[in-house]
C-alpha cells in the first residue's frame, strides 16, 4: 500500500472490535456512533450479509453483518452485540460486530501490509495489520463494505 511520508509521521486513532476470535479496527474518524443491537427490518432480495435497515435518529441505514461480509460465519445477533455506525463516503452504514474492545492510538508507520495468506475476500477488506501488545488487529477498509446497489440487484436478477 502507498503511504506518503507525512502520513507516516502522524498518529491515527482506531476503534478496535471483535468478530469471533479475531480483532479488527476502523479509523475513529469514520465512526459516528456505537449502539447496542436493535432488531432490523430485513430488506427483500438483499445480500445475506445485509441484516436489514434500522432507524437512527430519523435516518434509515443498513446494518452489515461484518462477519458474514468478510466471509466468516454469519452472526446471530443478541442484545450483547454492537452496531458501529460508520460514515462511508456519503453513506452511513451500521456494522454488526461482537463487541468493541479498545480505542488505539498508533502511528501510521506501524501498519503492516497484509500477508498473502488470508482469503481473497478478507484481504480485499483489510488495509493492513497492526501488532500491539502481542495482539494482531486488522485494519478494515470500509469503502466497498456495501456493494453498490447495482451490483446487488445485478446479483439478484
Amino acid at each position: 500500500m502507498h503511504v506518503n511520508e507525512q502520513d507516516l509521521a502522524t498518529n491515527s486513532e482506531l476503534i478496535a472490535f471483535r468478530l469471533g476470535e479475531q480483532e479488527f479496527c476502523v479509523d475513529i474518524m469514520s465512526v459516528r456512533d456505537i449502539r447496542g443491537w436493535t432488531p432490523t427490518t430485513p430488506l427483500p432480495h438483499s445480500s445475506d450479509y445485509v441484516k436489514g435497515v434500522i432507524n437512527l435518529r430519523g435516518a434509515v441505514l443498513p446494518v452489515v453483518d461484518l462477519s458474514a461480509r468478510l466471509g466468516f460465519s454469519s452472526t446471530e445477533p443478541t442484545a450483547r452485540h454492537v452496531i458501529i455506525i460508520t460514515q462511508v463516503g456519503a453513506q452511513t452504514i451500521g456494522l454488526l460486530v461482537d463487541a468493541v474492545s479498545d480505542i488505539l492510538t498508533i502511528s501510521k508507520a506501524s501498519i503492516q501490509a497484509t500477508p498473502n495468506v488470508a482469503s481473497e475476500l478478507a484481504r480485499s477488506f483489510t488495509k493492513g495489520l497492526i501488532a500491539i501488545e502481542g495482539r494482531m488487529i486488522s485494519l478494515i477498509a470500509l469503502d466497498n463494505i456495501l456493494a453498490s446497489a447495482d451490483e446487488t440487484s445485478a446479483a439478484i436478477h
Binding site: P42, V60, A90, A149
Partner: protein
C-alpha cells in the same frame, strides 16, 4: 462562497424570474390579451437582465439584451407592431436570451450565428417597421431625431420628448434641471446615488451640486438615513425619457424632479405636465386622441393636464400601475437546505407523536382521558404543521409549463409544423422536487406529441382539420394527487403499426391477442420507438419507457389513451409531495409493510371457490366475474419460501399504473396511516419491489411497497419462464 459569487447567484436567480416573466408576457401578447402594461412588463424584464448583466460585465448578454430591449421599446412606443411574426421573433429572442443567461451561469457555448441572426432580425423589426399603430404621432415624430432614435436608447416615449426635441432640434441639446433626493430605501436596495450621477454625466455636460444642508448633528444622525440631495443641470442630446431612464430603478425611492430647461419660459409645471402626458399615452389607448391638440402647441400645455388626467386616471404616479402588474407578493428567499431540514424535523415530530400515542395506548389510558384528548389535539396540530411545512416546498407548475412552450416552438420549427400550445392550470402547486424532476419527462412527451402525435400540415388539411395543430397541457389537483395531461389533436396511435413493430422487435408474440389499450401501452415497452428513422427531435436514444420510469421514480403513473383521427392523451398522475404518503400498514411473514393507499382499490377475504390455479404456479382469484392474478407478497419479496394460504390471508386489490389489477396476499391489516417517506437510496440503494422506507410508531423501519414493480416483477418472471420454456 465569496460575496461576489453570492450576488451573482442572486442575479441569475432573478434572471430566471425575469425570463419567466418575459416569456409569459410575450405569450400573453401572442394571445392578443396583452395591454400596454404587458409590454411594459416584458420590457422591464429584459431591461433588468441587461442592467444586471452589465454590472457583471457579461458583454454578450448585455449586447443581445440591448438589441432586444430596443425593439421592445419600439413596441412599447407603438413603433413596432405586435404582429404575430414579430411576437414569434420575440419569443425566439427570449429563448436566445435564456440561452445566453444559462451560458453565462454554467459556461458552455451558444450558437453565435443564431444569436447574431436573431439580433439582426430584432434590429430589423425594431427599425424597419413603420408605425401604423400610432399614425397620429407620425408627423410629429418624424420631425426630430427620430431616425437615430430607432436604435438608440433614448426615446422610451415618442410623444412629448420628441416634440420637445423636435422643436429645438437646431442645437441638438436639451437642458434639464434635475433635483434628486434619495430616500433611505434607495440605499437599502443597494442602489447608489453616485452611479446615477455618473450616468447623467455620461449623457452630456452636467453640473452637479450636492446639497448637504439636511445633514443633522452626529448625535441625531441615523446611520441608515439619507440626508444628501443633488441638483444637476444637464445639457444633453437625449430627451426627457433618456434622463428619466437613468432613474428608472429608483424612481419610487427618491424625490425626483426633472425639468426641461432652455425652452424659453419653461417652468416646473411643464415638466410635471410632460410626465402626465407621458403617462397618459403610456397607460391608456384613448390618450392619443388628445395628442394632436397638444402637439402643435407644446408650450401651452398648461391647459391640457386636467383633460388628460381625466382620460388617464393612473397618472397620479407613473409607476404605480407598473408595480401593480408585477405583483411583488411578499416573499423571502430561503436556502432550500433549511426548508428540507425543517421538513425532516417535522417528519421526526410526526413519528415521535405517533410513537407517543402508541405508548399511551399501550399503557392502557382511557380513550377519553385528558391525556388521550391532549394527544389527539397534538396529532391534529402535528398534521397541520406538516401540511404547512410541505406547502413551503410546493410551487406552481407554471415555470415548467412555460419551458414547454419553448420546446413546442423548437420542435414545430424543426418539423415544419404549425403548433399551438394551450396550457391550463399553471397555478397548480406541487412539491419542488416533483416539478424539477418532471422537466425531462414532460419535455420528451411534448416533443413526441409534436413530432409523432401531430400530422404534417398537408395531412391535417386532408383530414379536414385546421392546419395548426394543438397540444394541450393541463394540470389539476385530483384526490390528493396532481394530474397532468398532455394531449394532441393528431392522428392518434397507429395501432397496426405499433403492433407490427412490437412483433418485429419480439416484444409480443405474432399471434398475441391484445386489446387496444394493451397495444397503446406497448409504446412504453423498453426498446420501442415508433419513428422509422431516428429523428432529430424525439429520437435521442430514449423512448417512452424512460419517461415511464422517471415518472414512476416520482411515485407517479403515466397512462395513455388514443382515439384514431382525434389524437392521443398522456395522463400523468403524481403525488403532491415526496415527503409523506398515505399508506395501509399490513403484516407479511412477520414483517410490517406499507402499501400506498392510492394504489389500493379494496381489500377482501378470498373464498376457496374463487381461487383458481393457472398453469404451474400462478393463481388467480375471481372478483365479480373477472380473474385477477394473486400475488403472494411474502414469497415475492423473499420473506418466506412457501406460498401463503390464500384462505388464511387478506387480499389487497391494487391497481397498477397501467390500470391492471392484482390481488396482493398479506397476512393481516394493521391500519391506515400517513407515513413519512424515508429514502433507502441515501445509505443503501434501490431495492427491487420497495419504493422507500418509513419509520413506524414503534421506531422501527418498515418498507413501502412498490406495487408496480412487484406486479411487473411477477409478470416478468412469468414471461421469462415462458421464454425459457420456448
Amino acid at each position: 462562497m465569496d460575496t461576489m459569487a453570492a450576488i451573482k447567484q442572486t442575479f441569475f436567480q432573478e434572471c430566471e424570474e425575469q425570463l419567466a416573466e418575459l416569456e409569459s408576457g410575450l405569450l400573453t401578447i401572442e394571445r392578443e390579451e396583452g395591454d400596454a402594461e404587458t409590454i411594459n412588463a416584458v420590457f422591464r424584464a429584459v431591461h433588468s437582465i441587461k442592467g444586471g448583466a452589465g454590472a457583471f460585465g457579461l458583454d454578450e448578454l448585455v449586447r443581445f439584451a440591448h438589441t432586444f430591449e430596443t425593439t421592445l421599446d419600439g413596441m412599447r412606443s407603438g413603433k413596432v407592431e405586435t404582429a404575430p411574426q414579430i411576437v414569434r421573433l420575440m419569443l425566439r429572442a427570449a429563448d436566445t436570451l435564456a440561452d445566453l443567461v444559462r451560458v453565462s451561469r454554467d459556461g458552455g457555448t451558444v450558437d453565435a450565428a443564431r444569436v447574431s441572426q436573431i439580433g439582426d432580425e430584432l434590429a430589423q423589426a425594431g427599425g424597419a417597421q413603420p408605425a401604423p399603430a400610432a399614425p397620429v404621432f407620425e408627423p410629429i415624430a418624424m420631425s426630430g431625431d427620430q431616425q437615430t432614435d430607432d436604435f438608440g436608447f433614448a426615446p422610451v416615449m415618442i410623444s412629448f420628448d420628441d416634440l420637445v426635441g423636435g422643436t429645438q432640434a437646431d442645437g441638438g441639446q436639451n437642458g434639464f434641471a434635475i433635483s434628486f433626493k434619495p430616500k433611505p430605501e434607495l440605499y437599502a436596495k443597494a442602489n447608489d446615488a453616485i452611479r446615477l450621477l455618473r450616468e447623467l454625466r455620461r449623457m452630456g455636460e452636467a453640473k452637479i451640486r450636492c446639497d448637504f444642508s439636511e445633514i443633522p448633528l452626529l448625535s441625531e444622525l441615523d446611520p441608515e438615513g439619507a440626508y444628501l440631495s443633488w441638483h444637476v443641470r444637464l445639457s444633453t442630446s437625449g430627451g426627457d425619457a433618456a434622463v428619466r431612464e437613468v432613474f428608472e430603478f429608483v424612481e419610487f425611492d427618491c424625490d425626483l424632479s426633472i425639468e426641461a430647461q432652455g425652452l424659453g419660459g419653461t417652468d416646473a409645471s411643464l415638466a410635471v405636465e410632460a410626465l402626465l402626458v407621458e403617462a397618459g399615452i403610456k397607460e391608456s389607448a384613448p390618450a392619443p386622441a388628445e395628442i394632436p391638440a397638444l402637439a402643435p402647441v407644446p408650450r401651452q400645455t398648461s391647459a391640457t393636464p386636467p383633460q388628460l388626467a381625466a382620460v388617464a386616471p393612473p397618472t397620479a404616479s407613473q409607476g404605480a400601475p407598473a408595480q401593480g402588474a408585477q405583483q411583488p407578493s411578499a416573499t423571502i428567499r430561503v436556502d432550500l437546505d433549511r426548508v428540507d431540514r425543517l421538513i425532516d424535523l417535522v417528519g421526526e415530530l410526526v413519528i415521535n407523536q405517533s410513537m407517543l400515542a402508541q405508548r399511551v395506548m399501550e399503557a392502557g389510558i382511557a380513550r377519553l382521558s385528558d391525556v388521550a384528548v391532549g394527544l389527539d389535539d397534538l396529532e391534529h396540530l402535528t398534521r397541520e404543521i406538516q401540511d404547512s411545512v410541505m406547502a413551503i416546498r410546493a410551487q406552481p407548475v407554471r415555470p415548467i409549463f412555460q419551458r414547454m412552450s419553448r420546446v413546442v416552438r423548437e420542435v414545430a420549427d424543426m418539423t415544419g409544423k404549425s403548433v399551438r400550445l394551450i396550457t391550463d392550470g399553471e397555478n397548480c402547486e406541487v412539491d419542488k422536487t416533483v416539478i424539477e424532476r418532471l422537466a425531462d419527462p414532460l419535455t420528451h412527451m411534448i416533443r413526441n406529441a409534436v413530432d409523432h402525435g401531430l400530422e404534417k400540415p398537408d395531412d391535417r388539411v386532408k383530414a379536414g382539420k385546421p392546419e395548426q395543430g394543438v397540444v394541450r397541457m393541463t394540470a389539476a389537483h385530483r384526490s390528493g394527487r396532481v394530474v397532468i395531461e398532455v394531449a394532441d389533436d393528431g392522428a392518434g396511435i397507429n395501432r397496426a403499426r405499433v403492433r407490427d413493430i412490437a412483433v418485429r422487435k419480439e416484444l409480443i408474440d405474432a399471434d398475441a391477442q391484445l386489446s387496444d389499450a394493451e397495444i397503446d401501452d406497448l409504446i412504453f415497452a423498453p426498446g420501442f420507438s415508433t419513428a422509422s428513422t431516428i429523428s432529430d427531435v424525439s429520437g435521442r436514444g430514449v423512448g417512452m419507457d424512460v419517461v415511464r420510469r422517471s415518472i414512476q421514480a416520482l411515485g407517479g403513473r403515466i397512462t395513455i389513451s388514443s382515439r384514431p383521427g382525434q389524437g392521443t392523451t398522456f395522463t400523468l398522475s403524481l403525488p403532491l409531495t415526496l415527503a409523506v404518503l398515505d399508506g395501509m400498514v399490513v403484516t407479511v411473514a412477520g414483517q410490517t409493510l406499507v402499501v400506498p393507499l392510492t394504489a389500493i382499490v379494496e381489500t377482501l377475504q378470498p373464498k376457496a371457490a374463487d381461487i383458481h390455479s393457472l398453469g404451474e404456479k400462478a393463481r388467480v382469484v375471481a372478483i365479480r366475474g373477472s380473474f385477477i392474478p394473486l400475488i403472494d407478497i411474502g414469497s415475492e419479496l423473499g420473506y418466506r419460501d412457501s406460498e401463503a394460504d390464500p384462505l388464511q390471508s387478506v387480499a389487497v386489490l391494487v391497481e397498477t399504473e397501467n390500470q391492471s389489477q392484482s390481488a396482493l396476499l398479506v397476512d393481516g391489516i394493521i391500519g391506515q396511516q400517513q407515513v413519512v417517506i424515508k429514502s433507502l437510496e441515501t445509505n443503501y440503494g434501490q431495492v427491487f419491489g420497495v419504493a422507500a422506507a418509513t419509520i413506524l410508531g414503534d421506531g422501527r423501519v418498515a418498507v413501502i411497497l412498490d406495487i408496480d414493480a412487484v406486479v411487473a416483477g411477477t409478470g416478468r418472471d412469468h414471461a421469462n419462464r415462458k421464454r425459457n420454456a420456448a
